[in-house]
Symmetry: C2
Subunit: 378 residues, 2 copies
C-alpha cells in the first residue's frame, strides 16, 4: 500500500467531485444541455478572473493561450516588451520571435521580480511598443511579479498589458480589470484544480482594438472566431467537453469558498512552507519575491537534488518538482496551490525531512514540520 501525494506546480491534485465530474456521460456540445454548462462556466471564470470582459475557453495547454495572445494582438514587425526572469518569461520571447515580432527583452535575474520602473523606462523610450508580456508567477523560480504596479505603468500608454497567470490565477490575487490587465491567460491544471487541457484568455476593450489590426496568421486560436461563437454560447471548435463539465464543478467550489478565503489559504500554506525550509536550514531561491503559489528551495551543498526529488516520488509517493532549465538539480519546488491544504504540506515537509536525513543532510528531525505547524496554528 502506498498513497500518492502531488505537490507539483501543475498539474495539481483534483478534488474528488471534480475528478468524478470528468467521468459523467459525455453530452454533445451543440445542445441546450451543454450551453447551460457554458453559461455557468463563463460566469464563474469572470468571477475568478475578476473581470467583466469575456473569458474564452481554449482546448489546449496554457501555452496555446499565450500563443493566442501574441498572434491576435500583434503583427509581424511590431515591437513588444517581454519580461523574462525564468522559463515561462522566455516563452513570451520565443513566441514573439516565431511570429516575426521584435521582442524588447527585459532580462531579470532568475529569482528576482521585474522592477516596474524598468518597464516604464522602456515604454517611454519606444512609443511604438504595442504590448508588454509578463508573468504573474514564474513557476520555474517561484517568483511573483507586482502586476498591480506594472498595470499602473502600462495603463496610459499605447501598449496592452498581457499577463501569463497560468500559475497563480485562482491562488493569489490578480484583479484583471482593477489592475488594468488587458489580456490575462491561464490554464486549467493549477489554481483551478482541473486536469490540464483547457486554457483561458480574457480580452479588454483596449486589446480588441489591437486584435482588429493584427495580421499574424491564426485559425484555431483566432479570438475573433472565439468571440463570434461565444456570443452564441458556443465554441468555434469542439471543446474538451469532459474538462468543461469538470470546470463547472471546480468553479462552483471556488465560488462557495470565495476568492478571499482561497487567497488566505494559499498565503498561509506558503508561509508555513517557507518557515519550514528556514527551520531546516535551507535557503529560499527567491527570498525577496517569493510566490504564494510555489516555493523554490536551493538544494543544499552535498545533496543530489535530482535524486532527492526522485526518491521522494518513486520511493515514498510524494511528488514535488525539481528545477527546470538552468536550475536543474539546483533547486526543488514545493507547490501549495489548488486542491492542496495544510496537512498535504505537513506530509510534503515530513517526506522531505525523511529523505534529506537519509541522504546525510544535518538538521533536527521535525524542525520543519514544527515550524509549519506553528504557522498553521496562528
Amino acid at each position: 500500500m502506498r498513497k500518492n501525494y502531488l505537490l507539483t506546480p501543475g498539474p495539481t491534485p483534483l478534488p474528488p467531485e471534480v475528478c468524478q465530474a470528468q467521468a459523467k456521460p459525455i453530452i454533445h456540445h451543440r445542445t441546450p444541455q451543454f450551453q447551460t454548462v457554458l453559461k455557468e462556466v463563463s460566469e464563474g471564470l469572470k468571477y475568478v478572473f475578476q473581470t467583466k470582459n469575456d473569458v474564452f475557453i481554449l482546448t489546449s495547454s496554457g501555452t496555446g493561450a499565450m500563443e493566442a495572445a501574441v498572434a491576435n494582438l500583434l503583427s509581424p514587425g511590431d515591437t513588444a516588451i517581454t519580461v523574462q526572469g525564468g522559463k515561462f518569461g522566455e516563452r513570451w520571447t520565443e513566441l514573439c520571435f516565431s511570429y516575426g515580432i521584435t521582442a524588447e527583452i527585459i532580462d531579470v535575474e532568475w529569482g528576482k521580480a521585474v522592477d516596474p520602473k524598468e518597464i516604464e523606462k522602456r515604454l517611454k523610450a519606444d512609443l511604438k511598443i504595442k504590448a508588454v508580456f509578463t508573468t504573474l508567477c514564474e513557476t520555474s523560480t517561484g517568483v511573483t511579479c507586482d502586476i498591480e504596479a506594472i498595470g499602473k505603468v502600462v495603463k496610459d500608454t499605447g501598449a496592452v498589458l498581457v499577463v501569463d497567470a497560468i500559475s497563480g490565477l485562482g491562488a493569489i490575487p490578480l484583479l484583471t480589470d482593477a489592475w488594468g490587465v488587458d489580456v490575462c491567460v491561464s490554464g486549467s491544471q493549477k489554481g483551478l484544480m482541473l486536469p490540464p487541457g483547457l486554457a483561458f484568455i480574457s480580452v479588454s476593450e483596449k486589446a480588441w482594438d489591437k486584435v482588429k489590426e493584427s495580421k499574424c496568421p491564426k485559425y484555431y486560436f483566432d479570438l475573433k472566431a472565439a468571440k463570434k461563437a461565444s456570443d452564441k454560447t458556443d465554441t468555434p471548435f469542439t471543446p474538451a467537453i469532459s474538462l468543461v463539465i469538470a470546470l463547472a464543478e471546480s468553479l462552483k467550489m471556488m465560488r462557495q469558498d470565495s476568492m478571499e478565503v482561497i487567497f488566505a489559504r494559499h498565503k498561509k500554506m506558503a508561509d508555513a512552507t517557507r518557515a519550514a525550509m528556514k527551520a531546516l536550514g535551507l535557503e529560499l531561491f527567491a527570498p525577496t519575491a517569493a510566490s504564494d503559489v510555489v516555493t523554490a528551495v536551493e538544494v543544499p551543498a552535498g545533496i543530489d537534488g535530482e535524486k532527492l526529488v526522485k526518491t521522494m516520488r518513486d520511493t515514498y509517493g510524494v511528488t514535488i518538482a525539481g528545477g527546470q532549465s538552468e536550475l536543474k538539480g539546483k533547486v526543488f519546488r514545493i507547490a501549495h496551490m489548488g486542491y492542496i491544504e495544510e496537512f498535504d504540506i505537513i506530509v510534503g515537509i515530513a517526506c522531505l525531512e525523511k529523505v534529506l536525513q537519509q541522504m546525510g543532510y544535518k538538521f533536527a528531525l521535525s524542525a520543519g514540520v514544527k515550524a509549519a505547524q506553528e504557522v498553521f496554528l496562528k
Copy 2:
C-alpha cells in the same frame, strides 16, 4: 427516469472503462509513471493509424492538428490542392487562406466523393503544388473518399498527401503507410471512443522534408518541437493527462478487438442504418459514396428537420445530428461509430420512427427496425 443515447458523429459515447480512466488520480506528466503511458499510447496509435511513422499527440480539437499540418508543411505563397465537398473540406481551404497559401480548390458537389482523376489532372497542370488536402469521411455529408486511389495519384509527385481522418480513423479502413498518406490527422472523440480534447498527427519522411522548409509561424503546433520531445518520451507542453490516460484504455480495447473486427462492426451498423432508412422510404443524402461512419438522410417533404432532431433529443433522450451549414434543416445524421453497437442503432431507428410518426410522416411502423434487424441477423 430517462436514458440518454448519443448517436452523433463526435462526440461519440464512451466505454465505461474509458470514462472511468479519466477519473484516475492525476499524475505529473514529467515522470517515469507517465512515460510508461506515453510509450503505450504511442504504440497503440501506430497500430490504429497503420503506420511506422511517429504519431504525435496534441492537446486540441482535431482542427488544431489540421492547422499543424498546414502551418508545418507549407510556406506563405505556396500552392496546395484542397478538396472541398462539405464543411470540413472547406476548413482546409480556410486554413490555407489564413497562412497566405494559395488553395487550388477542387469543389465537389456535397454528397459526392472527389474523383481521384481530378486531383491527378490538377497535379499535372501545376508541378509547384506542394500538398493535397483531403477528408477521409466528410462528417457534414456522410461521404467517404477513396483515399487509397488518391494516394496512388499523389505518390510519385512532389506533393504530400494530407488526410483529415478525424471522422473515420479507427472506424473504417485507412492504411496510412500502405496507401501513401504522408500526414494523417485525427481527433479523440470519434472512432477512438474518447472525449474531445486530443488530436493526433502522423508524419512521413516525405512530409518531414516539407516541414524542414516551412516558413509559416507556429509554436504550440510546431511539429519539430513535438518530435524533439517525443524522442525523449515527452511532450513539448503539458498534455491533457487525464485524456491520455483514457486513451491508453481505449487503445487497449481496440487492440483486443483488432481493426478487422472493428471495421466489420462499423460496416454492418452502416448497412443496417441505410437499409432501415430505405425501408422507411427515406432518401440517403450520399447514396453513391455513403460512409460507414455516419449516415446522412434527407429530411422528407413536410417534416421540420430541426424539430425532428430536437424532439428526439429533448423529449426522448436520443441525440442524433442535424445538418450543418447549407444542409441545416435539410438532412439529419445518424452516427454509427466508436462505442456504438447494433442495439444502439435499433434504439436510434425506433426513436426516429416514433417521432416521424408523431410528426405525420407516413410509413409502416417498425419497417426500419425490421430492416436493420435483418441486416444484423446476417
